[in-house]
């Protein structure tokens, strides 16, 4: 099996105006793509809100994809969309806001027309836990209804709606995840396995994949060094950056974190999964790191450590 690796775009680089995303200008964006290309990434995942910027810089989003392809990429593989902060206009657990959310999703789908074939429409299925509390079964079912609805629409455009669960979201524990998947239609709603987020929430990502592999359409390979055992997931307004005890939640693979990536890799091989594998770095600059170095080390780890796990698993088949 040939693995296909994509990169999830959180990159920050040094500019004359301080550290900013490479969308700073076209030159920076070109260099960013070349850097990923040099390491051998073939897929590119991005956020919905970058689409207008890409259009501005390259003339159109497909023109940006052509630039990726000129540099050895296959295509844009995933688009990430989310409503992390609930407002009166948009909140997945509030049914009255669903029409608006669906309309937004349709707008995003129009923004990626003409691309070679984005596969995943990645969503955060809920807003922050603290805004959703109390998290009832009913609210989880309401959220399931929303994504069933969205999933049907994206599938018409060839994209699978796939759910990425934050440790601070309202669907975070294993029972909540099970209830959510029970109420979503396997034909319309898929599972996206973020190794670090699940680990922080006390959910074993490898077991999660084992149990939901039939619905799994992607991964964020990232690591963490902390499990949230003190309810930091409830920190308002934002647990990801403001948790009292943890300044940095996410780390690249191979830096002594809690996730057992070789085991996951073996599980992936054994399952016959043939979709994209994605490296995500989030806040890599905290504590003095850089995105470029984190990306090199992650890809080095893939080619030198995970490749070995993959070979072992393939031999065992």
């Amino acid at each position: 099996m040939a693995t296909k690796w994509s990169y999830m775009d959180h990159w920050v680089t040094e500019t004359p105006q301080g550290p900013l995303p490479p969308s700073f200008n076209r030159t920076y964006m070109d260099r960013y793509v070349k850097q990923l290309s040099a390491l051998g990434f073939q897929g590119f995942d991005t956020f919905f809100f970058y689409l207008p910027m890409l259009q501005g810089m390259y003339g159109s989003v497909p023109a940006f994809e052509h630039f990726l392809q000129d540099n050895g990429f296959e295509k844009i593989t995933g688009i990430f969309s989310a409503y992390p902060y609930a407002t009166k206009h948009t909140a997945p657990h509030v049914r009255e806001t669903h029409d608006r959310i669906v309309a937004d999703c349709e707008y995003t789908l129009r923004g990626i027309e003409g691309l070679a074939g984005v596969e995943n429409f990645i969503v955060m299925p809920s807003s922050t836990d603290w805004q959703t509390e109390p998290v009832t079964d009913d609210k989880i079912k309401i959220m399931a209804d929303l994504w069933n609805r969205v999933g049907r629409i994206t599938l018409e455009h060839g994209l699978k709606t796939t759910c990425h669960f934050e440790f601070w979201g309202a669907i975070r524990t294993r029972p909540q995840l099970e209830l959510f998947f029970e109420h979503t239609d396997p034909e319309y709603v898929y599972f996206f396995c973020d190794t670090a987020q699940h680990t922080i929430a006390g959910v074993d990502p490898v077991q999660m994949f084992r149990d939901y592999k039939d619905r799994c359409t992607g991964f964020h390979f990232k690591d963490t060094k902390n499990v949230d055992t003190t309810g930091m997931y409830r920190t308002a307004p934002d647990p990801e950056l403001m948790a009292p005890d943890v300044e940095r939640w996410f780390y690249p693979m191979g830096e002594g974190g809690l996730v057992d990536f070789p085991s996951l890799m073996k599980e992936i091989v054994a399952s016959g999964y043939d979709g994209w594998l994605t490296v995500e770095h989030d806040k890599a600059e905290l504590g003095g790191g850089t995105y470029a170095e984190a990306t090199c080390l992650a890809k080095w780890y893939i080619d030198n450590v995970l490749a070995e796990a993959q070979r072992e698993a393939e031999a065992a088949l």
């Binding site: 070349k34 850097q35 990923l36 040099a38 390491l39 850089t290 470029a292 090199c296 080619d303």
Partner: protein, 324 residues
């Protein structure tokens, strides 16, 4: 396939005395170089004691236990080894931060040869094949070199070359943009005066370009003597008058001269600069160049990014020119 091999210079990580000291920092840089598509690294000789642990064989040994153990680290990071060491004889290694020897002083020949041998042995042990040296001081210090000075230099480097050759390591003279060899036909005369079998040229594209020389033309003129290539870009030229500024190393190279140039050297890319890399590498191909090509950024606000951008350019644009 070409016999040329691609290496990357580590010096850009070493921005100050107390940086790039920990093994962990080395390992991260080495993995970055490896995954960006290079097979070796170039080291630069430095004398700042324990704070320059890759600066000389003694410091490598002190930090890693032995040179061989450092070789294991390189291979553990998926690199083949080092390509080369860069040694400036003006730096002394007898004491930390010591002052070295002026190649124009005939009495320097012994100590310089000994130190060269010391480095060459390490190059060999770490899988490399070239010792790159600064053959002479800066233009402002010497003015144009007269025949007797050329003779002193030729005697020195011939002797050094014979000794490194005995260790299986080639000697390559490096011309920087402030070098005395930029004046008149100094470079041509020194090459003519040295033994082609044991003394070669290390051609640094950016240094030549800043000195106002066309690296492609220099290469074509001396292709048979080029034993080593360093690839980097530049955007500004330093003319002879500016190069003659007293203490030009500080006032021009470090401070940027009257123009306040904050960065002289850039990664080889197609973003525009003084060097035509594709023409240069095509010329290497024509002449069947078979040595190391070391990519340098030398100065970078962001070493990992520079390595990756260069890696892209090598993989996508330059290496294919050699593989024709």
């Amino acid at each position: 396939m070409s016999a040329a091999r691609w290496s990357y210079a580590l010096n850009q990580w070493d921005t100050n005395i107390d940086t790039f000291v920990r093994k962990r920092e080395h390992e991260r840089a080495l993995k970055t170089v490896s995954i960006s598509g290079f097979s070796a690294v170039e080291l630069t000789a430095a004398s700042f004691g324990a704070w320059e642990p890759l600066g000389n064989p003694r410091q490598i040994r002190d930090l890693y236990g032995s040179v061989a153990a450092f070789g294991e680290v390189l291979r553990g990071c998926a690199l083949d080894g080092i390509s080369s060491y860069v040694y400036d004889p003006f730096i002394g290694f007898d004491v930390e931060m010591g002052r070295g020897h002026d190649p124009l002083d005939p009495s320097s020949a012994g100590p310089i040869a000994e130190t060269s041998e010391w480095f060459a042995g390490t190059v060999r042990e770490l899988g490399g094949s070239v010792l790159v040296v600064r053959p002479v001081g800066s233009a402002w210090q010497t003015g144009p070199l007269d025949d007797s000075q050329i003779e002193v230099l030729a005697n020195l480097w011939d002797a050094v070359g014979r000794r490194t050759a005995a260790l299986g390591v080639e000697l390559a003279l490096h011309v920087d943009f402030l070098s005395a060899l930029r004046l008149g036909d100094g470079l041509d005369r020194l090459l003519a005066a040295t033994d082609a079998d044991v003394v070669g040229l290390a051609l640094d594209t950016a240094e030549l370009a800043v000195a106002g020389m066309d690296p492609v033309a220099v290469y074509r003129r001396h292709a048979s003597r080029v034993r080593h290539v360093q690839l980097k870009d530049a955007r500004e030229v330093v003319d002879e008058a500016e190069a003659m500024t007293p203490h030009a190393e500080q006032f021009v190279r470090t401070e940027g001269g009257r123009r306040g140039i904050e960065r002289w050297f850039f990664e080889p890319t197609d973003e525009g600069g003084l060097v035509d890399f594709e023409a240069f590498v095509s010329a290497l191909h024509e002449h069947g160049y078979a040595g190391w090509i070391v990519v340098e950024s030398d100065q970078s606000p962001h070493p990992a990014e520079s390595t990756m951008v260069s890696g892209w350019y090598v993989q996508k644009r330059l290496a294919p020119l050699l593989a024709r």
